[in-house]
């Protein structure tokens, strides 16, 4: 029995979401659903977080940010993609600026579909993630750093992009 499952701290990032799923995530923190009773705290700091909750899809602007946040999280960590846009791109999948769901960039552990995903589903997803977190901890799995070399090779960047 590890402590990870009893004290999961999340970092929530809105990739290209319309904010619908984000509001539902926020609702989880309210007295109605009160996820703090599970020890869940929404930290804004990847270094303090265990669970990376992402809404929305990948586009050019947030590629590096998602990688950066993911890389800064210490092991063991899990990623929860909330909302259909984060899972697969949703209705925006064919758009020119959308690369697709989060799993195009970083390994996703739990998919919570919905548009917008309901608080109950989100909580259910997080609880599932806790189980995966415990497994990772038990098996000592460490996640590799995510970089973006392939993408850069194929696409031109806007000028002045940081390395």
């Amino acid at each position: 029995m590890t402590y990870l499952a009893k004290s999961p701290w999340i970092i929530h990032y809105d990739a290209s979401s319309c904010n619908g799923c984000d509001i539902e995530i926020l609702a989880c923190l309210t007295p109605m659903y009160d996820v703090e009773r599970f020890g869940i705290i929404n930290t804004g700091n990847p270094k303090h977080a265990d669970i990376f909750v992402v809404t929305g899809s990948i586009n050019e602007a947030n590629r590096e940010v998602i990688q950066n946040i993911y890389n800064q999280m210490p092991d063991p960590k899990v990623v929860v993609a909330v909302g259909i846009c984060a899972c697969s791109g949703g209705v925006f999948r064919e758009c020119y600026n959308i690369a697709g769901g989060i799993d195009k960039l970083i390994p996703v552990d739990v998919y919570v579909p919905g548009c917008a995903a309901r608080p109950e589903s989100i909580i259910d997803g997080i609880v599932t993630a806790l189980g995966i977190l415990e497994e990772k901890r038990k098996n000592g799995i460490s996640s590799p750093m995510v970089t973006d070399h392939d993408h850069k090779a194929h696409h031109k960047h806007a000028e002045g992009g940081a390395q």
Partner: protein, 638 residues
């Protein structure tokens, strides 16, 4: 007989060194003379301590008053002519006026009263003078050694400045001689003479670079110190007229407050100007244009200490008098206000200058209160401040040469660029405000001293606030130094070995003195306090053990860095998800790359010099007037 020779040696030997400066043709020769001389002075100072520390106060009658006093008078007049000439040439009429007044006063004294004053012992040594001698002999010598490397670099990189190093070292050693003379003199006329010599040395050294700013600041320092000199001369004449032939420190202290209070107040005023207390603080801040060794030697560890030295000497007279209280209030307010101004300064030397003024203010406050506890605190403050501040000034000088800047914000990441120097700076800064280092012990002693006097709570409150403010500006500077930037390279290798010697010695001294201060207290301070006050002050055994424990912890912990550790995974700092380069540049909006600049809080609107200094000047000027008025009335009424 032995003692007289020792004291004379310490006073005259630096003079000989100074003269020898003119015979050194090459840098190498000069370096040898300085290093040898420094070594000798240091060793003899320690020898003096060892041979006299347990003997109490020893008066030396072997040196005759005449013709020495006459020679001193002649030299004073020559100096006056020199200053008069310079004052006229540079159109500094305040200086002209003051030197004229002062010279006329001393001439009057010499002609009318000189024959009627009789001092049996012109020199003396006691525990306090011994401590001062150690400071002058060890720290002063180290600073002179440091100057070799510093001045060499300075002139290599400023070829447009006239290379007057010979004169520089000449004046430095004359100054050391004068300081020794000051702390060994019992004859007040002799104290006055050495006092004026230090004023002259300070003037010459501040104006060393001969730029317009330096010259102006030098004259500024000169007139303020001359004002003190006029007061000092006034004290001498008063003593001559009303003092029943008293002209020695020992006889002055023994003659009771009725006679002694007015001259003590006048000499105290001179001490205030020399210690750059408000309202006379601007000269010390302006003196920072001088080369850093000058700032370290004169304007933090030694000359300004002469001002507080004389105040501490006269403290028994000030004790439990209204004059003493007002004096203490001037010191306390200076401590508070100068600390406040230091918060808003971004130039490292200005921070050090204001911090010096503040700490001297604290010593003045202790001297004004004048109880045995307060004097214990005062002497400890003097010792620890001298060591830490000189260490800091010398470090800043070395750092400034390498990074080409005196700004604190430019010292970001110093621990990476100059690790050993940064470590020593950290020791210096810690020595200024952290437990268990010396300054903290002294402040602690001061708090205890203040509470136990009537109305002392006012001083404690001022001390508490000032102390909190000092913490702020020291800690933020320390933070800048220990920031680990990942892209800087180590530029420490170019530092001259003479600078290393001085710096490491001072850092070591800092740690050792904190460790052995109980010894210092029992062997030197307690006998001194017992002789002058009939009481001793000390820290309890338990507290001493605890502080030593803390010190050991602090020293051992950094050594843990040497233990090879498992390397942790490195990640970049959090920048809201933005990727950063190693030098903290990140991609901002519209894809433009931006630089991260982290600057300290200076809080100009609240702690700015423009706001606080005028307030301080007005308050303290008023207090000085009150002090003199009260003293005069007391003298008149009694």
């Amino acid at each position: 007989m032995q003692l007289a020779q020792l004291l004379l040696f310490l006073i005259l030997f630096p003079l000989i060194t100074a003269v020898f400066m003119f015979f050194a043709k090459k840098d190498m020769e000069r370096a040898w003379i300085v290093k040898l001389s420094a070594l000798v002075i240091g060793i003899v100072s320690v020898y003096l301590l060892i041979s006299t520390y347990d003997k109490g106060a020893l008066l030396v009658s072997a040196i005759p008053s005449e013709p020495v006093t006459l020679i001193m008078f002649i030299i004073e007049m020559l100096i006056a002519v020199f200053i008069l000439y310079l004052g006229i040439v540079h159109k500094k009429y305040i200086v002209v006026a003051l030197i004229l007044v002062q010279s006329v006063m001393m001439l009057y004294f010499e002609l009318v009263y000189a024959h009627s004053v009789e001092v049996s012992s012109n020199l003396f040594i006691d525990e306090f003078s011994n401590i001062m001698a150690l400071i002058i002999g060890i720290i002063g010598s180290l600073i002179c050694v440091y100057s070799l490397g510093y001045m060499k670099f300075f002139h290599e990189h400023h070829p447009e400045m006239p290379d007057k190093r010979t004169t520089f070292f000449f004046v430095m050693f004359v100054f050391i001689a004068a300081m020794f003379g000051l702390v060994f003199s019992n004859n007040i006329l002799w104290v006055y003479f050495f006092w004026e010599v230090t004023t002259l040395c300070s003037f010459l050294l501040i104006g060393y670079t001969k730029t317009e700013e330096a010259t102006n600041n030098a004259f500024n320092a000169l007139w303020m110190n001359l004002l003190g000199g006029v007061a000092f001369a006034g004290a001498i004449i008063y003593l001559a007229m009303f003092g029943n032939g008293v002209m020695g420190l020992d006889t002055l202290l023994a003659s009771g407050k009725v006679i002694a209070l007015i001259p003590a107040a006048l000499i105290g005023f001179a001490g205030l100007t020399k210690a750059a207390q408000l309202p006379f603080s601007s000269w010390l801040v302006g003196a920072m244009v001088a080369p850093t060794p000058v700032s370290a030697l004169l304007h933090s560890s030694t000359m300004v200490k002469a001002g507080v030295y004389i105040l501490v000497r006269l403290a028994p007279i000030f004790q439990a008098t209204f004059t003493g209280y007002v004096l203490a209030m001037i010191g306390a307010l200076t401590f508070l206000i100068a600390s406040g101004i230091a918060v808003s300064q971004s130039n490292a030397k200005r921070v050090l200058a204001y911090s010096t003024i503040a700490n001297l203010g604290l010593v003045v406050a202790c001297a004004g209160i004048g109880t045995y506890e307060a004097i214990w605190a005062a002497i400890l403050l003097i010792v620890f401040h001298a060591i830490s501040k000189s260490l800091l000034f010398l470090s800043v000088g070395t750092v400034e040469h390498r990074i080409k800047s005196r700004e604190i914000d430019d010292m970001n990441g110093l621990i990476v660029r100059m690790p050993k120097i940064a470590a020593m700076m950290v020791i210096g800064i810690a020595g200024m405000f952290l437990a268990p280092f010396g300054m903290l012990i002294s402040k602690w002693a001061a708090i205890k001293a203040f509470i136990d006097v009537p109305y002392g709570f006012v001083f404690v409150i001022i001390l508490a606030f000032g102390s909190a403010i000092t913490l702020f500006f020291w800690a933020k500077w320390m933070g800048k130094i220990i920031t680990v930037t990942s892209d800087s390279k180590n530029i420490e290798g170019e530092v001259d070995h003479s600078e290393w010697t001085a710096l490491t010695s001072l850092a070591g001294l800092s740690l050792i003195t904190t460790l052995v201060f109980p010894l210092l207290s029992t062997k030197l301070l307690e006998p001194f306090l017992m002789a002058n006050y009939g009481h001793v002050a000390q820290l309890s055994q338990d507290n001493i053990i605890i502080m030593i424990l803390m010190l050991l912890l602090l020293v051992i912990m950094p050594l843990s860095i040497l233990i090879p550790q498992r390397k942790h995974k490195h990640v970049s700092p959090y920048m809201g998800g933005r990727t950063t380069t190693t030098d903290m540049r990140f991609s901002g909006s519209l894809g433009v790359q931006k630089k991260t600049v982290l600057s300290n809080y200076y809080l100009h609107e609240y702690f700015g010099e423009a706001k606080l200094r005028p307030a301080g000047i007005w308050l303290c000027s008023a207090l000085i007037c009150i002090m003199f008025a009260a003293t005069a009335l007391r003298g008149v009424i009694l």
